[in-house]
């Protein structure tokens, strides 16, 4: 088979799997698991083959036009360069791991067939986005991912949190998608084509009339999808979905789609230094804010969600300094270790029966209950905190190195201010990352107090996947030298200054948190806390749904817990209260957008009920009065009716006679 055929099969196989899964889910439950895992696995293998054949050399382009669509043609086009080939491998790997993990995690879930089909559909859409060479086709995949995310976040729709979170995720990302769509149209009109290669050619020859406007419109969509400030608020709430979904969609792939999109069209953004500056500021605010917020969260998954937002901020920062190689490099390693973190968190939630760090910090021996999750999560957290020699170190230093490169004025056409902004906030965020990674590790695994409850052993499918994902988290850094050929060819090896600074700050953050934990941990025994799952014998998904539902009643809030033994509380001081609720951004949005919309809705309701309906009722009143008058004739006495009939007949007869005689 040619490489093009293989590449077409990559998104097609999971799509067919999803369709078959949705059709056969009820009639043939035995086929659901193979139909979920095998197409995704095959797509992963094919993506690896495509990557090997592409080999980081010239990009593969193929296009076919199904039907003429008017002024600007829409084509089914492939555009596979080194970035696309590698990101597709990552998507395939994570999706396969998540599908295998889900067979264990949602073992007894009644809605597993539709869940697995949606995950497959999502995988297919993401692969379409990755391979597509046409912006319209890319947009199709982009929107399918949005709707899959909506359905999967709302998987536990019995709980009000999940329902609210799914609607919020959908609305907030759509808020970004509208300007995104307009931006794509504007770009296509300027460049005369939806094809990425043509667009890039037009940009290179200076053919764009409004680069800043287009870049900012596209940036709005990217901010929504990739959860960048100010459209990031949906991502922490999206943790109300099942953990494998969080791992696949809200950590490794979908949220990375925005970053990947900018990486594909980076010359469009680089044509406008204003857009780059906006991106740099956006990345800076996102990184710092999410780092602080992650320190204050109590739900283990929300810590990881804020960490995801921060790491995506790093990628946006790398793009803001014009280095898409570093951005996609970080995307790849982050996808692997963040998926691992989430899947391990799923194991912890199942084992501990709670998603609250305050509760796990009062459990002894949790790490002996889940040794696989303990060791793999330690690896992933070290990668997250960018400690050498783990993968995160190399990728984060590539980002910081790119920022330093720009800040010291070595790059043409990119404002030095953007470099400084990204470099300084990147280093500060490294400190925060070290701190919250340490806090998560200590609170989750080094609790003291009662013995951890025994909820049975996790299925093999769940634990095996953790080790599979631990390999890239450990060893992806070895690929640093080889990968620069796949990207734009810029050297990705860490530079000394930023490495020392970044690693040093991360270590300082970790050590300070350790000190704070030593200081506060004595308080833990004095304030007993903890809620444990009601059905420990259920599968992991049921335990998680119950943990999510019971967090707010048990601790007063979905995000925070009033735990004096939390080292984050000591470190953040008075800031903790604000960081726990995401710096009141939700409250601001409620005041700015939700309240006016609700007021408008009640106004419309008033107009409909009180004004429009008055006219309707008024129009009905006259016939009703007439009807009441006529009804009086209905006495029930048949003879009266016949008399009236006779009188009428006589009148008619007389009239007929008069007319006939011509009187």
């Amino acid at each position: 088979m040619t490489t093009t055929t293989l590449a077409v099969l990559v998104p097609l196989l999971p799509f067919l799997g999803a369709a078959a899964g949705l059709l056969l889910g009820r009639t043939a439950p035995g086929f659901v698991r193979p139909l979920a895992v095998l197409p995704t696995l095959a797509a992963f293998v094919l993506a690896v083959l495509v990557a090997l054949r592409q080999g980081g050399g010239r990009s593969i382009d193929a296009a076919t036009e199904l039907t003429p669509t008017g002024s600007v043609p829409i084509e089914l086009a492939l555009h596979i360069d080194g970035f696309a080939a590698l990101v597709a491998v990552l998507v395939g790997l994570v999706a396969t791991c998540v599908q295998i993990y889900s067979t264990g995690y949602l073992r007894d879930d009644a809605r597993y067939p539709s869940y697995a089909a949606l995950v497959s559909l999502f995988t297919s859409a993401m692969l379409l986005v990755v391979y597509s060479g046409d912006l319209m086709v890319l947009l199709v995949g982009w929107e399918i991912m949005g709707i899959c995310s909506y359905f999967l976040v709302g998987h536990y729709w019995e709980t009000p949190e999940a329902r609210a979170a799914s609607i919020k995720a959908f609305l907030v990302t759509k808020l970004g998608d509208v300007p995104f769509l307009i931006g794509i149209f504007a770009l296509a009109v300027d460049a005369g084509s939806f094809r990425i290669t043509t667009v890039l050619g037009a940009v290179a020859s200076g053919g764009l009339d409004h680069p800043t406007l287009i870049a900012l419109l596209l940036l709005a969509g990217v901010a929504g999808k990739s959860a960048q400030f100010p459209l990031h608020t949906w991502l922490p709430d999206a943790m109300a979905g099942p953990t494998p979904v969080s791992a696949l969609i809200h950590a490794a792939t979908m949220v990375a789609a925005g970053v990947y999109f900018i990486a594909r069209l980076l010359p469009v953004f680089a044509a406008s230094s204003a857009a780059l500056l906006v991106m740099a500021v956006m990345a800076a605010v996102t990184m710092l804010g999410s780092g602080l917020a992650a320190l204050a969260q109590d739900d283990i998954k929300r810590v990881l969600a804020y960490s995801t937002i921060g790491q995506l901020g790093y990628m946006t920062g790398a793009l803001a300094v014009g280095d898409r190689g570093a951005a996609v490099f970080h995307l790849l390693s982050h996808g692997a270790f963040k998926a691992l973190l989430f899947l391990a968190a799923g194991v912890i939630i199942h084992a501990a029966g709670t998603n609250s760090l305050a509760a796990t910090s009062r459990m002894k021996g949790l790490r002996d209950r889940v040794p696989d999750a303990y060791w793999t999560m330690t690896v992933a957290l070290l990668a997250l905190a960018a400690i050498p020699p783990f993968s995160g170190f190399f990728t984060k230093e590539a980002v910081l190195g790119a920022a330093e490169h720009v800040a010291t004025g070595h790059a043409e056409g990119i404002p030095g201010a953007a470099g400084w902004i990204v470099l300084v906030t990147g280093l500060l965020t490294a400190l925060l990352t070290g701190a919250y990674a340490m806090r998560l590790w200590l609170l989750a695994f080094h609790g003291r107090g009662a013995e951890a409850p025994d909820h049975g052993k996790q299925p093999l499918a769940m634990n095996a996947v953790l080790w599979l994902l631990a390999v890239p988290s450990l060893a992806f850094g070895l690929a640093t030298g080889a990968l620069s050929d796949w990207f734009d060819g810029r050297d990705l090896t860490p530079t000394l200054t930023t490495s020392v600074l970044g690693t040093g700050l991360a270590l300082v953050g970790g050590l300070v948190t350790y000190g704070a934990w030593k200081h506060t941990t004595a308080l833990a025994a004095r304030v007993p806390m903890g809620a444990v799952a009601a059905h420990p014998e259920g599968d992991a998904a049921q335990v998680e749904a119950e943990a999510l539902a019971s967090h707010a009643p048990a601790y007063g809030d979905v995000a925070a817990a009033p735990d004096p033994a939390d080292p984050g509380r000591l470190l953040l001081g008075p800031l903790h209260r604000h960081a726990a609720v995401g710096f009141h951004l939700d409250a601001v949005y409620t005041t700015l957008f939700v309240r006016p919309v609700q007021a408008g809705a009640s106004l419309v309701r008033f107009l409909d009920r009180e004004v429009v309906d008055t006219y309707v009722h008024g129009a009905g009143a006259v016939p009703r009065l007439l009807g009441a008058a006529v009804r009086r004739a209905q006495t029930g006495n048949v003879q009266t009716y016949v008399s009236a009939l006779l009188a009428g007949t006589v009148v008619l007869a007389v009239a007929a006679v008069l007319v006939a005689t011509g009187a």
Binding site: R624, A628, R631, Q634, T635, G636, N637, Q639, V642, S643
Partner: protein, 136 residues
């Protein structure tokens, strides 16, 4: 015989029947009045048929044939009518038409909501009547 005699007789019969239908209270007498009206019509049919066929060269006597139909229908009608009256009498203990006013519109039925209630009331009454009929 001149046509006037049967025509006048039939008009008298019809008026008597009409008076009976409009004024009598007993349902059986009302039915008998209806018969009177029908027979007035029959008389007219026969008389005019004879009168018209006298002038025509060829006739089918359709007026007399129609009379036979009317008699047959009248017989059927009186049979069903008497059966209904009998059933009503068994149920209500009376065959007085003035007291059989179930189809009257209630005075309170004003507006769609009360209409609904009104029909409900009628339905339940009709149901009760059916039940009583079944037990009788």
């Amino acid at each position: 015989m001149h046509l006037t005699y049967p025509a006048v007789l039939s008009a008298l019969l019809f008026c008597t029947g009409l008076y009976g239908v409009l004024a009598r209270r007993n349902a059986i007498l009302v039915l008998m009045s209806v018969e009177l009206m029908l027979n007035a019509v029959n008389l007219n049919l026969v008389a005019f048929d004879v009168w018209l066929s006298r002038a025509a060269e060829e006739t089918l006597h359709s007026g007399q044939a129609l009379t036979l139909f009317t008699i047959a229908i009248a017989a059927a009608e009186i049979g069903i009518g008497l059966a209904i009256v009998l059933a009503v009498y068994r149920n209500r203990g009376t065959s007085d038409i003035d007291k059989l006013r179930d189809t009257a519109e209630g005075p309170d039925s004003d507006g769609p909501d009360s209409d609904g209630r009104g029909t409900d009331g009628l339905d339940s009454e009709a149901l009760a009547a059916q039940k009583a009929e079944a037990t009788a």
